[in-house]
């Protein structure tokens, strides 16, 4: 798998546990990825009814996701991947990756794009749409190698200096 540069938009703030809002996020992410010219095809879900820790094909997982949400299932993370057919590791090989993460601290939404995909975007529009799914307090646009994994950076579990290819392009706070 090649090492590629990705660009990510991450929004930090409060995330609601409301099932409808998770569903809204899912539908937004699928739609937005598809509008970018890629196909959203895999889902990663962490919740009390989703413990596998594996990504699943969207076509198979969507029905269960909706059914569980309707029954009040609690979700802490919902990620939508656009993966190539021959991917080797979902964690590195995606073309686009959207994730909404509810955490004790540093809850966030992250939208990660391979560099070429990012160039075609209307960034302000993307941010405006994404912040409908979080009560945004701050945000950042950054560049990072896919090998260093933007999701790890966004989760703030490491010191910033642990990321050798990190370039912070823009950051803001409310």
């Amino acid at each position: 798998m090649p090492e590629i540069t990705t660009k990510s938009i991450v929004l930090y703030g409060n995330i609601s546990q409301d099932a409808n809002l998770w569903l809204n996020w899912y539908e937004y992410a699928v739609r937005q990825i598809n509008e970018t010219g890629f196909t959203s095809n895999y889902l990663g879900i962490i919740g009390n009814k989703f413990n596998s820790g594996k990504v699943q094909k969207l076509s198979r997982a969507e029905k269960k996701l909706k059914a569980e949400l309707a029954q009040g299932c609690e979700i802490s993370s919902l990620s939508i991947y656009s993966l190539p057919e021959d991917f080797k590791q979902a964690a590195f090989d995606y073309n686009i990756y959207f994730s909404r993460n509810l955490k004790f601290k540093n809850s966030h939404i992250i939208l990660t794009f391979a560099n070429e995909a990012f160039l075609k975007l209307d960034i302000q529009y993307i941010i405006d749409e994404a912040q409908k799914h979080i009560e945004m307090k701050s945000g950042q646009i950054f560049e990072l190698s896919n090998f260093e994994n933007p999701q790890i950076y966004a989760s703030r579990v490491n010191s910033v200096s642990a990321f050798k290819t990190l370039k912070i392009i823009e950051e803001w706070s409310k």
Partner: protein, 394 residues
């Protein structure tokens, strides 16, 4: 504005590091990293937690000696931590000083500003003036510290200029004996630096030639420098193959021996040192192997290359002088008694007690689940928790 949670420096300059030196002064061990541009950085841990920051503290002079700025040394070793709270933000009564170096040799400007209550009271204009001057001098891109207002400013913290004391001179004397031309800069390894200078070469074929290869077999030891020069493995293979023909034997040797005996070559390379370019340290051929704790059998899953990716990382880490022990697929409690029994693919315990975790995701692992698991491990490790990483299967 920086939120004061993690690393106030936000430096990313370690990507340029190509050498390092670990010094022990007055019982304090500190590692300095030499950047490509000749500047010298180090990192300081704040309190007992995981917070730390990196800072540029000196430079390599024209005689290839590391020169540590007295002021910087004094601040960080004697006072530095007093000026940060547990989250890396400045304490209210700290004063603020910034300086920059010209031609990496002389401090040409130095200013001091009182921080009235917190970082927010230092105006953007103050930074802008200095930033403009630094840009004029051409140093805007080699300065770190984008803390508060998004400008790249290098800064130091000091209670007062008169706080510069003799300890600063001490470290200069110590460092002055380090010869950086060989890239073998461990203080303890100095003795062997000149002796082994001929091995400190990034060209795999040269390294191999100096090692008097016999029988067309590539010894295990040759693989390490090839892999760690940043060259792709394939390229390294090609070089060695051109020089010696049979390459496959060496790789098989590596896998089957799992860092153990390398047969006839073991004697040949006993006590020889070579430069590990990626980790910038000098290690005894045998010593690094002893750092690696292997599982009873290779950890396998359905993802091809999983075990080898772990192995590759373990070898690289074991050769780093700041690493004390590397555990492959071993319980965290091995690294820190009392920690949980989860088994990261690679666990790296450093000599400062911090423990990093590495996971090789399987084909369909969701990254968030891996992070969640490693975060739980971090909690279990408490103050010893280091960084977490995931590894690609190359």
């Amino acid at each position: 504005m920086y939120n004061g949670v993690d690393d106030p420096d936000k430096s990313i300059r370690y990507s340029k590091v190509n050498k390092s030196a670990t010094l022990e002064v007055n019982g304090i061990s500190q590692t300095y990293y030499i950047n490509d541009d000749g500047t010298v950085e180090t990192r300081y841990y704040i309190g007992e937690g995981r917070s730390w920051y990196a800072d540029e503290v000196g430079f390599v002079n024209s005689d290839n000696k590391i020169m540590i700025d007295n002021l910087t040394f004094s601040q960080h070793f004697n006072y530095g931590h007093q000026f940060f709270n547990d989250y890396g933000a400045l304490k209210p009564d700290a004063k603020f000083e910034y300086n920059y170096v010209n031609n990496l040799l002389n401090v040409v400007n130095r200013k001091e500003i009182d921080v009235m209550s917190n970082l927010g009271n230092i105006t953007k204009e103050d930074y802008a003036i200095i930033a403009q001057e630094m840009k004029r001098l051409g140093y805007d891109d080699c300065l770190s510290g984008e803390i508060m207002v998004g400008l790249n400013i290098k800064f130091y913290i000091a209670p007062e200029i008169s706080g510069i004391v003799t300890t600063g001179e001490l470290i200069q004397e110590s460092v002055a004996s380090i010869d950086t031309t060989t890239a073998l800069t461990s203080v303890t390894g100095l003795r062997s630096a000149k002796m082994n200078a001929r091995y400190a070469n990034n060209d795999a074929s040269v390294i191999a030639r100096n090692r008097s290869i016999r029988n067309g077999n590539m010894p295990f030891d040759v693989i390490a420098p090839i892999k760690t020069t940043g060259m792709k493995l394939k390229t390294g293979f090609k070089n060695v193959k051109n020089a010696f023909g049979n390459v496959t034997y060496g790789m098989k040797n590596m896998l089957s021996n799992n860092f153990g005996s390398v047969g006839p070559q073991k004697k040949l390379f006993k006590k020889r040192y070579f430069n590990n370019v990626s980790s910038n340290t000098v290690v005894d051929n045998k010593a690094w192997k002893e750092k690696v704790v292997l599982p009873s059998k290779p950890h396998t899953n359905k993802t091809p290359g999983h075990w080898f990716a772990s192995l590759r990382k373990a070898v690289g880490q074991a050769k780093d002088s700041v690493v004390e022990k590397v555990f492959l697929n071993k319980s965290l409690s091995k690294a820190k008694p009392g920690a949980n029994r989860n088994r990261p693919d690679v666990t790296v315990k450093k000599i400062n007690g911090m423990i990093d975790q590495y996971e090789v995701p399987s084909k369909t692992d969701d990254i968030n689940k891996l992070i969640e698991r490693m975060e739980m491990n971090q909690e279990s490790l408490g103050d010893s928790a280091g960084d977490i990483y995931i590894l690609p299967i190359k």
